[in-house]
């Protein structure tokens, strides 16, 4: 299984539809302070089913919806599509014959959210099950937030245990 494309619309500072194609190997993202680099990492965490607004660096989940600028109005919805390729073992939802799967997550200002797999509406639980089977699983050590690399070391021993549990 590998990441092929991430498409963000109205998510944080990505007001207009913006897409990133991932290569196998190493993709580097650069740019000045405050331009939106960490927002991409937040976007990946969000489309993979993140439930906590705090982990999205916000107070409530609606904080991820583009909030406007001095000249633009806020948008009414945030949407992210993540396309995965060479997905093995995605039998749980009958997607095993597809070699390409697109996960979609939407959030409206009203607080309503939608989840889709290959444009078919589903629940968040279905997305999590799908990811579990493909090894994308939990994101405890697959997404390291800015400034948090040292936290694994400075946290208490019982907090570090989860790393072994993830792997077990």
């Amino acid at each position: 299984m590998r990441f092929h494309k991430l498409e963000m619309t109205g998510f944080k500072s990505f007001a207009d539809k913006t897409s990133v194609t991932f290569e196998p190997g190493l993709t580097a993202v650069v740019g000045p302070n405050g331009c939106g680099k960490s927002n991409i990492s937040d976007g990946i965490r969000w489309v993979l089913g993140e439930k906590s607004a705090k982990n999205m660096r916000g107070e409530k989940m609606e904080d991820v919806i583009f909030n406007g600028t001095e000249v633009r109005k806020p948008t009414g919805m945030a949407e992210i599509n993540l396309t995965l390729q060479d997905v093995e073992g995605a039998d749980s939802l009958g997607f095993s014959e597809f070699k390409e799967i697109t996960i979609t997550r939407r959030l409206y200002r009203s607080g309503e959210s939608e989840y889709l797999i290959n444009k078919i509406p589903c629940r968040l639980k279905d997305i999590r099950d799908l990811l579990m089977d493909t090894g994308v699983g939990s994101r405890a050590y697959s997404i390291i937030e800015q400034g948090k690399i040292g936290q694994i070391i400075t946290s208490k021993p019982e907090e570090r245990r989860f790393i072994i549990e993830e792997v077990a």
Binding site: T21, P24, S38, N39
Partner: protein, 162 residues
């Protein structure tokens, strides 16, 4: 499940030792399970990390420097990937506290892993950019609105100013 836990712990511990050695270029490190009280269940124990950078005495993690802590944490993350590969990994300015030598060692290790795992690395550092297979620049030409452009190394270095 106790057996599964112990298998995972032993596997991670073995790989952590070798990964630490190649990231620090010497010294030694290991993981230890610490039961909260005598005789309690192994599943409730905490994970202690013992690290000895090359030439130094064994010391508490608290006394380690900012760069040493980042490198030890990276060694642990890489060890987990070796035991249970994850198809992708996002690293957000993990190389910021590292000096030139450590950035190089860290980058080389990323390259080794990039065969099995897809890495998305947010960075300001030039040596890490040079290793990338694809480079994206994020701009805010229109204030408050992010855009993405695919760049070459030279442009990327200019954007980061290195």
């Amino acid at each position: 499940s106790e057996e599964l836990f112990m298998d995972a712990f032993n596997a991670i511990n073995e790989t952590f030792k070798t990964v630490f050695l190649s990231l620090f270029g010497g010294g030694r490190a290991e993981l230890q399970l610490v039961p909260p009280e005598e005789g309690s269940d192994v599943l409730d124990s905490g994970l202690e990390i013992v690290a000895q950078p090359p030439g130094k005495k064994l010391q508490s993690l608290l006394l380690c420097s900012g760069g040493e802590k980042a490198l030890i944490a990276a060694a642990l993350v890489f060890a987990c990937f070796l035991v249970k590969p994850s198809p992708f990994c996002v690293l957000d300015e993990v190389d910021a506290p590292l000096d030139e030598n450590n950035v190089q060692r860290f980058g080389n290790m990323l390259k080794d892993f990039a065969g099995k795992t897809q890495f998305i690395v947010i960075t300001h550092s030039r040596p890490t950019m040079e290793l990338a297979d694809a480079l994206y620049g994020v701009t805010m030409d229109e204030p408050g609105v992010s855009r993405l452009v695919s760049v070459r190394l030279k442009e990327a270095a200019e954007m980061a100013g290195v």
